[in-house]
């Protein structure tokens, strides 16, 4: 959705490349605030997404919180997305209560080194959210004051396969629902 091709992709005609300038979003202010950091914008269906490299993420978040024009003082959501071979995206959803603006911040971690600095120094709300992300994805938040599992039982060691990673399998089901009753599994998706 960020760069848009009207043509179906035929190489001959001059492709109309619509470059998204993000004018209708807060991109300009964000870009100005984060000028010390390498930022790349994108769009989601509703909000502006910015990508910050891992090394600068906490610095960037802190700048976003403390900037007088933005004041992102409310951390809505903190989670991760497993992109398999592309690494793990850690996603922060920010909101500014005084200015009523939203922002999504993303950073990518390589699969071999899933370590990132903790955001609890910026918002206290990150505490439990990071605990959950850590136990579900195996992301290690360095400097977290209380790195215990949140939802998982404490006596299970999940370090070989974290639940929400794509490599973690679904359970094998011996009898599929409806088989005993004689329903046809092929009928799935037809209403």
């Amino acid at each position: 959705m960020s760069t848009d091709d009207n043509a179906a992709g035929t190489a001959e005609e001059a492709q109309v490349e619509v470059v998204d300038t993000f004018d209708d979003t807060i991109w300009d202010t964000v870009n100005r605030t984060l000028r010390a950091v390498d930022v790349r914008p994108e769009r989601s269906a509703l909000d502006l997404i910015i990508h910050i490299p891992r090394a600068d993420i906490i610095r960037g978040l802190r700048m976003l919180k403390q900037d007088a024009d933005l004041q992102f003082n409310y951390l809505r959501c903190l989670t991760a997305v497993d992109n398999e071979s592309d690494g793990i995206d850690v996603v922060y959803q920010l909101y500014s209560v005084p200015k009523n603006i939203n922002l999504t911040v993303k950073t990518t971690l390589p699969n071999e080194n899933k370590v990132i600095e903790t955001a609890t120094t910026v918002w206290k709300a990150a505490n439990w959210l990071e605990r959950e992300t850590a136990e579900m994805f195996g992301v290690s938040f360095s400097g977290h004051p209380d790195p215990r599992p949140l939802l998982m039982p404490e006596d299970i060691d999940m370090s070989d396969t974290y639940p929400l990673l794509k490599s973690h399998p679904f359970a094998e089901i011996d009898v599929l629902q409806g088989e005993i009753l004689g329903h046809d599994r092929d009928a799935e998706g037809e209403g």
Binding site: T120, T121, K124, A125, A126, N127, P145, D146
Partner: protein, 393 residues
């Protein structure tokens, strides 16, 4: 020695005592089961539901069914519970209540014994059950039980004082017909029969309105009833000191609670509402028949019991520190003042209307003090300051 019972002369005193005791036991058991049923029905009606309806006609046999169920349960004792403390506790809660029935005047001439120090005996005996609560709490080897037991002890001891003082205030100014030649009336009696007889024309409710209210509140606290049911606060410590008991032992606690309610209501009816004497005493020349007197007493005790249930259905629970400050800072000073005034009335022979006026003023003071305490609470203990960098875990 021989004595007379129900018109039979020359009955051995031991047999006489045994008969009376058995009558009381039977009466108490039946009435307590009726009270349990009554509470469930009345509370249900307050809450727009029906209560027990299935066991027996209109659910009347529900208490019987409950009793049978409890009798059939296994009698458990936690392994680490102190055996003697744990097992003796129900008796120490139940027996004093039962002993209190000795002086309760049901109807003229119908009681186990007439004691000159009736009220003193009553107060002394009902104070023993606090020990039972502590024993139950401590002997259960359970933190919730211990907390409940401590709370019960603190509450029971604290509210004993307004209770005693309120009964004292009434007993002080009761007019007793004197035997002496002068025909002067004496003042002050702990004998319940005399207290009732003195109310033949006007019940003590008129002379001592504040004392009545304080007695009601203190009785609620002694009975561990809402709003003072912290020891058995179900939503907090889940049953309090009795959480580890099951079967018959638990039912003894339960019965003790309702038997105590029954005693308190009868004492209330006797001391404040005139027992069997008012308004029967208004017709001096034609004393009412026994059954009418019994109905009268039942009605008055029933009023007290209904008020207790009503309060339970309507009012939240107090917190332990609020409960403590309420008794020590509000009820007790008011009761001291009331005893002082009663004493002044006795000594200076003021007309009794002074008592009514000061009583009503006292009620007003009580209401205002409670209102002020609620609307302007003392500052709470400050919550822990946020520790830098450490988020709430």
């Amino acid at each position: 020695m021989s004595t007379e019972i129900f018109g039979f002369d020359g009955v051995n005193v031991w047999v006489d005592g045994l008969v009376r005791v058995l009558l009381i036991v039977g009466f108490m058991t039946v009435v307590v089961m009726g009270l349990i049923y009554g509470e469930r029905k009345i509370l249900a009606r307050f809450q727009q539901r029906l209560g027990p309806t299935r066991t027996g006609p209109v659910g009347l046999l529900q208490s019987v069914a409950d009793a049978l169920k409890l009798v059939g349960k296994e009698d458990l004792r936690p392994r680490n519970a102190d055996a003697w403390t744990f097992e003796l506790a129900p008796y120490l809660v139940f027996v004093p209540v039962f002993l209190g029935f000795v002086i309760v005047p049901f109807v003229l001439d119908w009681q186990v014994r007439i004691l000159e120090l009736g009220l003193l005996y009553f107060v002394a005996v009902t104070g023993i059950n606090i020990v039972g609560w502590i024993m139950a709490g401590w002997g259960s080897d359970n933190r919730y039980a211990m907390i409940g037991g401590m709370r019960a002890a603190a509450q029971g001891i604290s509210y004993e004082l307004p209770l005693v003082l309120s009964l004292l205030a009434v007993a002080m100014v009761v007019e007793v017909p004197s035997d002496s030649a002068t025909g002067e009336s004496l003042r002050g009696s702990l004998n319940l029969n005399e207290i009732i007889a003195a109310q033949a024309e006007i019940p003590n409710l008129v002379w001592q309105p504040l004392v009545l209210i304080v007695f009601f509140i203190a009785a609620l606290a002694e009975l561990n009833r809402t709003p003072f049911d912290i020891p058995v606060g179900e939503s907090e410590v889940v049953g309090g000191p009795f959480v580890e008991y099951s079967g018959i032992r638990w039912s003894m606690f339960f019965l003790a609670e309702y038997a105590a309610l029954l005693i308190m209501s009868l004492i209330f009816a006797a001391v404040f509402l005139g027992g069997w004497a008012w308004p029967a005493g208004l017709f001096q020349d034609d004393p009412w028949p026994r059954w009418a007197q019994a109905l009268l007493v039942t009605g008055k005790a029933g009023l007290f019991i209904f008020m207790v249930f009503w309060v339970r259905a309507s009012v939240p629970r107090l917190r332990i520190d609020q409960l403590m400050s309420f008794t020590w800072k509000i009820l007790l000073p008011l009761m001291f003042a009331q005893v002082l005034i009663n004493g002044l009335v006795l000594v200076y022979d003021w007309p009794e209307i002074v008592l009514t006026v000061t009583g009503l003023v006292g009620v007003l003071v009580l209401v205002m003090a409670v209102d002020r305490a609620v609307r302007h609470p003392r500052p709470r203990p400050a919550p822990a300051t946020q520790l830098e960098g450490e988020a709430a875990s």
